[in-house]
Amino acid sequence: MSGAASTLSVKVWRGREDGAFQDFAVPQAQNQTVLDVVTWIQRHLDPTLAYRFACRVGMCGSCAMTVNGRPRWTCRTQVAAVAGDGGLSLAPLANLPVIKDLATDMTAFFDKWQRAGGRFRPTGTRADEFATVPPATPGRRAADAGIECIGCGVCHAACDIVRWNPDYLGPAALNRAWTLVNDVRDAGGEARLAAVAGDAGCHACHSTESCREHCPKHINPTAAIAGLKRATTLALLKGRL
């Protein structure tokens, strides 16, 4: 259509934590995504702009940024859906250190997955038959509800508790732990429940549900965290924690 004739005003965060917003004018196009805008700026206006992406189809979880104040996956966010009269404002994800411009250091985010016992601990060996996990069983359903996480860090950036307490494991790591707690093939047991219990774990969650509100995959980490609270309470009452 006549989209190319109009331009979009885009403010982009430059530098590290002590950086500032820089203004760019980007031609508007049909079906333009926020990631398209960032790519256009890098290719045509400033090749030094740092940002991160890989798949461009909502699978890899690497392109999340703060778009007009909200954390979003930029490859699947249409400009038309989010740009108001003021255009676009793009910043790196919150609650993580900024490496440069729109790229954050996600080390702390993924370290939390490890601390939450996010690693699968198999009960079987490669000599065993494949485990049969019927789709209708409650454990399988609970795991299915959270298994599509792409690790984009949007929930971690949206979480108030992470902002108050940087040690808090956060929604994504706890959601991962809950999928494993419900995995009948997993041997993590009480060690994982101990890892997710306490002040920096599931008990710190105030159920403000920012994670659920912002998750681009429509996962509900708050429900997973509530499940972990129940599981740890039960294990405590049974004297296993």
Binding site: W164, N165, E190, A191, L193, A194, A197, G198, D199, H203, A204, T232, T233, L236, G239, R240, L241
Partner: protein, 119 residues
């Protein structure tokens, strides 16, 4: 030790968390009864003397309000301690001691008030 993967301190925190939830469940019931009682007393125009006439010597009201006071004395200090831990840098034994004093004060004031209705 190997069968109990949590440290004593972490298990203590978990118990406090659980105690706060459990006392909240008790409070939910107590507050409803208490509010209904207030509305009833106000709407029927009961005087202070009439109210005292019903509560004095009543083991049921004594028991109910002692449970109420116990739940408050448990619930509030754990919650305030947690808010302080989240919002300020104050942690450790001094905070635990302050929370215990707060709990004792609530229990003392509460029991004193309940005894005033009963005796």
């Amino acid at each position: 030790m190997s069968s109990r993967p949590l440290t004593d301190a972490a298990r203590g925190e978990l118990r406090l968390w659980l105690a706060q939830r459990a006392s909240a469940a008790v409070l939910a019931a107590c507050v409803i009864v208490h509010l209904a009682l207030i509305i009833y007393a106000v709407r029927s125009g009961l005087t202070a003397a009439a109210i005292l006439g019903r509560t004095q010597g009543s083991l049921i009201w004594l028991g109910f309000y002692l449970v109420f006071v116990a739940a408050v004395a448990l619930h509030a200090p754990i919650g305030v301690r947690q808010i302080v831990r989240e919002m300020t840098g104050w942690r450790g034994r001094s905070l635990d001691a302050a929370a215990a004093v707060f709990a004792a004060a609530l229990a003392l004031l509460g029991v004193r008030a309940v005894w005033g209705l009963f005796a």
